[in-house]
Symmetry: C2
Subunit: 343 residues, 2 copies
DNA sequence: GTGAAAGCGCTAACAC
DNA sequence: GTGTTAGCGCTTTCAC
């Protein structure tokens, strides 16, 4: 049976209010009183009951993080960053995964954790414009992390998808590649990561006055390594000529790289390839992967910051949208300055 | 202002207890009453306040998961499995990372979340025998996942470190390799993962009547890809002959593989290599990594099960220790049946 | 500076 | 079957 404030106050010979004051660093307490209280706390090994505290105060200091799945390296690293940023501000993080389908994503949103969580960091995956109302009506302070629902109903911290993909594509073009596969498209999608990155790819081609060829666009559903690998394999069977790949994320790129090499193609000799996300692993792949660093740390910091402001009620104004700067990280899979002989 | 039980009861024209009964699926309620209550709940969009519920009931249905860090793929995948197992039983998971140093590990243990979490799943990293009392006195139901503190003070779900490492080593020996590097040792450690896996390695050598050579044991502190890569690089500089590597986890193996290939050595042609953990990525590395699958899913399921039993107070007996079965997964980096010409 | 007391929203005796 | 009520442990208003 854990000790309560009452136990402490009884042992210290003061009132419960005084104990509460000590715990909450209320400044005007006689030093001697504080000593007594602290001694009693130590003796009883007292810890405040957090349920009671949050029932009374209306704050739990817990933030919910809604992501597709942790076994996806990007989200694991994002969660890691979010938890560090949260911990630095005295907040805990309750993670909820919703997988890859719309139904469970909606289910997780519906399952409200009133009183258990003060706010939500939500990385959208499958929801879109028709779910705008759902997002708008979430009963908790919420900051969005995905890329859908622009001019959205909520604060939104985004990475620069279009610009990043454009930079990756331009990087390949600059090194002399001309026939670039876009790997990871989601047909019909416009404002999701896939749609935006495809836009960046197209913009880079247009700026270079190169034609956009449907033939070079490869659709891939989930962006896992296996999917990248399989998609590239079947693309190779089609016999379409190409000398570069703009993969829409790192795991796709790593999977594709594997398929290329299995097929006897050298990277970057025959085919140069870029990824997107800068997950840890890209530094250590063979070859090391050129990628776009979307600023994960900064996204996490900013999102937590915005959310805590909303929770504190410090801002009442319209939703804010913050685009975090990206960086192109040139590594071996698509070195800079290289010029290809063939093709 | 969210609706409360009172609001619902008022609107439905029944008492608060009746509403509570409906919510908690108390069986003996007139259908008509239940209808009225459900209608009121829907109209007010009522959700139970979880802080209040857990203050009152003493249960939060939240489980704490203490792990070193989520950016480590093994722990991300473990967390994923734990969260799925927990979700299937109506539990949420609050993850706390403590990094790689003893001090923050102790700090996380000390920071008790009384009332916020019903129990702990704790994957020990740096603590050892001298911390036995600390573990023993944790004020919450706790199930251990790491490998230290055998015959420990708590329920413990372990992977078969010794047996797994022995199987990996035997696998290499069976394919004709004779000079096997043990990669990832922690000098002086006995009952941690590194110590146990080294024991497995030694046992396999002994069983094959091969000498144990200190020269072939490579120490690596944290088991990240980079560390594996660097350690292998400096080992290569020493010029010691070898034809196989038993890496103590997958990321070490992947890093080492990279260093080997950079050095012009073929895998598995010149050097065969095995990992440990069976992280997703091992299927897609180049070459695909032979590894030990420690049974992550089953570990998660079992650990949650034991923990919930403890929380429910269904068991009062001595701590249980459960070793989950492992599997060797032979892939390209160390194929079975292969016989090497050289060396 | 410190104490008394109300009440956050819920569950569960207990009464009827 | 349903209602009344005490109280989980805390914060906070208001006295003094």
């Amino acid at each position: 049976m854990p000790a309560t404030l009452h136990d402490v106050s009884r042992l210290a010979g003061v009132s419960i209010k005084t104990v509460s004051n000590v715990i909450n660093d209320y400044p005007y307490i006689r030093a001697e009183t504080r000593e007594k209280v602290l001694a009693a706390i130590a003796e009883l090994d007292y810890t405040p009951n957090l349920s009671a505290r949050s029932l009374r105060s209306g704050k739990s200091n817990v933030i919910g993080l809604l992501i597709p799945e942790l076994r996806n390296a990007y989200f694991a690293e994002l969660a890691d960053s979010v938890m560090r940023a949260a911990a630095a501000r005295g907040q805990s993080v309750l993670i909820q995964q919703f997988g890859n389908d719309r139904e469970s994503e909606l289910a997780v949103l519906r399952a409200r954790r009133a009183g258990m969580v003060d706010g939500l960091l939500y990385s959208m995956l499958t929801l879109d414009e028709r779910d705008r109302a759902t997002i708008e009506e979430l009963p908790l302070p919420t900051v969005l992390l995905g890329e859908r629902l622009f001019n959205g109903p909520r604060d939104h911290v985004t990475m620069q998808n279009v610009e990043g993909a454009q930079a990756a594509t331009e990087h390949l073009l600059r090194s002399g590649r001309r026939r670039l596969v876009a790997l990871g498209a989601h047909p019909g999608e416009v404002i999701g990561s896939a749609g935006l990155r495809l836009t960046g790819y197209r913009q880079a081609l247009a700026a270079a006055r190169l034609p956009f060829e449907e033939d070079l666009v490869v659709s891939v559903g989930p962006w896992h390594r296996r999917d990248g690998s399989l998609a590239m394999r079947s693309f190779l069977e089609r016999g379409v000529e190409f000398d570069g790949v703009v993969a829409f994320n790192d795991t796709l790129a790593l999977g594709a790289m594997r398929a290329l090499q299995d097929h006897g193609l050298g990277v970057p000799g025959d085919v140069a390839i870029t990824g997107f996300d800068n997950i840890d692993e890209t530094q250590f792949s063979m070859p090391a992967l050129t990628t776009i660093d979307p600023g994960r740390e900064e996204i996490a910091e900013t999102a937590i910051e915005l959310l805590l402001e909303r929770i504190a009620g410090r801002v009442e104004d319209a939703p804010r949208e913050i685009a975090v700067p990206f960086r192109l990280i040139a590594r071996e899979s698509a070195p800079l300055g290289e010029r290809v002989a063939g093709v």
